[in-house]
Symmetry: C2
Subunit: 445 residues, 2 copies
């Protein structure tokens, strides 16, 4: 399927709700709004319920989440605001549950749709925001006001594309492009094809805005939020996600395919093939198994990254080839590929410049104790000293107390299992292992 029009039609057929589905979505949203306003009235509260998010904006894909915001006056205290959200949510969807981000809210299934009921403050302009979500209604309003009807499908195409190449979503697990950012990109560039054409020309610095610019940011992608010029609407986008978007755009333009929107799943290699792939590299794959901390994903993934950074720093002398992590069941597995598994007994230790006030101490400390030296190289003193810890296990357990992993992982330092990958082969997800061993861009699978 090479014709771009055919691809567009195919994608929209698969992601865009039908007339009947649309009707059901809107009936459900209206029913939720009525129920919410009743509950507010019943309690004699000032306030209202509004629909926000992709349903409100008409940019939703099939089976969307429905986001209902409960707006209360600014003088309501924060504790009451939070409690009201939970209380009203519970009375509308009794079998839901509370979720805690910066701000608690209520999540449940209603009419078959996943629904979030979120309390916020009713403010007159975004600068007045008190809680993190107060700005959301303005985003919804902005898009509703500025997006042309015919652009809604363009947004659906863009979202499907970003989903397909696995960078859709601002959450920490993805570090990609949010729904709102997708909408801004369509407003900026007009339509889906134009977004790709422009993204394919992005380079190191990307600074975008609608109308006037705003503050400077250091993020890989900057898109000044038209609702608040002090905010970067693309702050979640990582360097990798940006680069993947650029590369995918170039690749799509060169050879369009529905695989960008609907990639094939990774076909796991057999155990034998996995062993073969590992063996032919002549490197060493180590696995560090941690219990999975019981925290939300947006806290978990940054901590995973921090933990991986610490592990690679500790093991850097073994020659890091590559790293990967797998979150599976109640465990987090850190996989690190190393060039070797033993360090020499000798370690070069850099001292001060010969003229430095500490050079005397340095010499006195090491004279007779060093394997070689103190000696001079360039203008510095050096010694070669005996390395105490030469195996991965020794180096790890000697250094672990001095390194900061992610906060929750720090508490789990005593519960690490580690060893060569062979000891974990029965446990580890073969799809994930395959992705680690044989990287493929999603659309090329």
């Amino acid at each position: 399927m090479h014709n771009e029009q055919e691809i567009r039609d195919y994608v929209l057929r698969r992601v865009k709700p039908s007339k009947e589905e649309d009707e059901l979505i809107w009936n459900t949203a209206n029913s939720l709004l009525n129920r919410a306003n009743e509950e507010i009235k019943k309690r004699n509260l000032e306030g209202d319920a509004i629909l926000v998010g992709s349903v409100a904006k008409g940019t939703y894909l099939k089976n969307p989440d429905i986001d209902i915001f409960l707006r209360f006056p600014k003088d309501l205290n924060k504790e009451d605001l939070k409690n009201l959200g939970i209380e009203i949510g519970k009375s509308i969807i009794p079998d839901g549950f509370a979720k805690y981000a910066e701000h608690p809210y209520w999540r449940g299934i209603y009419n078959g749709f996943e629904v979030d009921i979120v309390p916020c403050y009713k403010i007159s302009k975004p600068e007045e925001k008190i809680s993190a979500v107060d700005r959301t209604p303005f985003h919804t309003e902005y898009i509703k006001k500025n997006l042309k009807d015919e652009q809604k499908d363009e947004i659906r195409l863009l979202k499907a594309f970003l989903k397909g190449i696995e960078i859709y979503g601002a959450e920490a697990r993805v570090c990609g492009f949010s729904g709102y950012l997708s909408e801004l990109l369509i407003l900026k560039y007009g339509n889906f094809e134009n977004v790709l054409a422009n993204v394919s020309k992005w380079r190191k610095k990307v600074y975008l805005h609608l109308g006037e610019g705003g503050k400077k940011f250091r993020d890989p992608v900057v898109f000044i939020d038209p609702v608040d010029p002090n905010r970067n609407a693309a702050s979640a986008v990582s360097e990798e996600s940006k680069s993947l978007f650029i590369h995918a755009s170039r690749s799509y333009i060169e050879k369009p395919s529905k695989n960008f929107f609907f990639p094939n799943p990774t076909i796991p290699l057999s155990k034998e093939k996995i062993k073969e792939e590992i063996n032919k590299r002549e490197t060493f794959f180590y696995v560090f198994e941690f219990p999975k901390p019981d925290i939300i994903d947006d806290n978990l993934y940054p901590q995973i990254n921090r933990t991986m950074e610490a592990l690679t720093k500790i093991l850097k002398d073994f020659g890091i080839i590559n790293t990967f992590y797998i979150v599976q069941n109640s465990k987090v597995y850190f996989l690190i590929e190393l060039a070797k598994t033993a360090l020499p007994k000798v370690k070069i230790h850099e001292g001060p410049p010969v003229w430095h006030q500490n050079s005397k101490n340095f010499i006195e400390r090491w004279r007779g104790k060093a394997l070689r030296g103190p000696y001079i190289k360039g203008y510095r003193l050096f010694v070669e000293v005996q390395r105490k810890n030469t195996s991965i296990e020794e180096v790890l357990f000697h250094n672990l107390p001095n390194y900061k992993l992610g906060k929750e992982f720090d508490k789990l330092k005593n519960e690490i299992n580690l060893g060569e990958i062979w000891n974990f082969m029965e446990k580890l997800d073969r799809v994930e292992l395959t992705k680690f061993l044989i990287f493929k861009f999603p659309w090329e699978r």
Copy 2:
């Protein structure tokens, strides 16, 4: 022996010629000058013979070389100048031989002293110099004019100190402090103790001059030549020699000893002890044996350094711990201590940024051929590819054709013998091996 005065006396007793020796030196020098002037006159040439160097300046140690310069008018052509030097030299010392630096000269033994007879142009100021040695008589004149009699022993002490700590001489093998530079240091700082006191405070940049300053230089030590402000009289001094001088000065001031002037020789370790030292480091010592090129030392040593640099570049993936060379009989041995002897089969290959015009070629070139990737890290493409050469021998012989060793060593690429140090244990000088394995500053042996 801790008293500095005692040390001074002891050193001077050992290095300063006695009255009788002095007389012999001067009789010899005068006899050489007479013979040389006779030869010039005999040939009806305009010109004269002069005494230069440490004998002329009165700063010589025991058993000095005697340097006779034959000065000819500026209009003599260079070929004739060179030939005359050889011809007259030969007639004075028939069993001498010609030496070739930038400029040929005659060397021989006369009255038991080593004598150099060097032709040069007689110029009226140093800027007019035609050949490299024309400036030398001005150096001699400058020192004779400015040095006080009582400073001559200070120079002897400084020279003996520099000799003892093994950085006396501007030649490429040493990269240290010449006789002339030693004299300038005494002129600058007054006496031996003051030189050490000042050197012990030297830091990264050392810029010295007598009277007015001169040109800027990037060398580790700069001493503007008072005879030619466009020349750095310390240009030969390496960073290591400078640092060693600083460190030795600080050490001497802290604890003076005659060992700085007359270090003990290195006592070679037994073969068994050498093996033990190597084994306890758990590293790998490789030896690269080259035939020794038949060139003068001032060309040989820079080429040895260049060759060592090339070898360490080629082998850097094996983890260079240390290097050393031994020039012995008709061979040059390069010793390289490595952290490992085999590389993994996989090699990370960095590609262009995703947005670069070459990124398409990069992907096409490696797709299906790489062990992993192309994949994105940061904003770049990467692949992991199969490494063809994983042993030291393979890596060396694959890369050797592409690297520049020293000029003469380049011609010897096909005559290298290499292997682990055990294969060379019978050949290698144990004193040198001991120096490599257990570094000691000369005065601490």
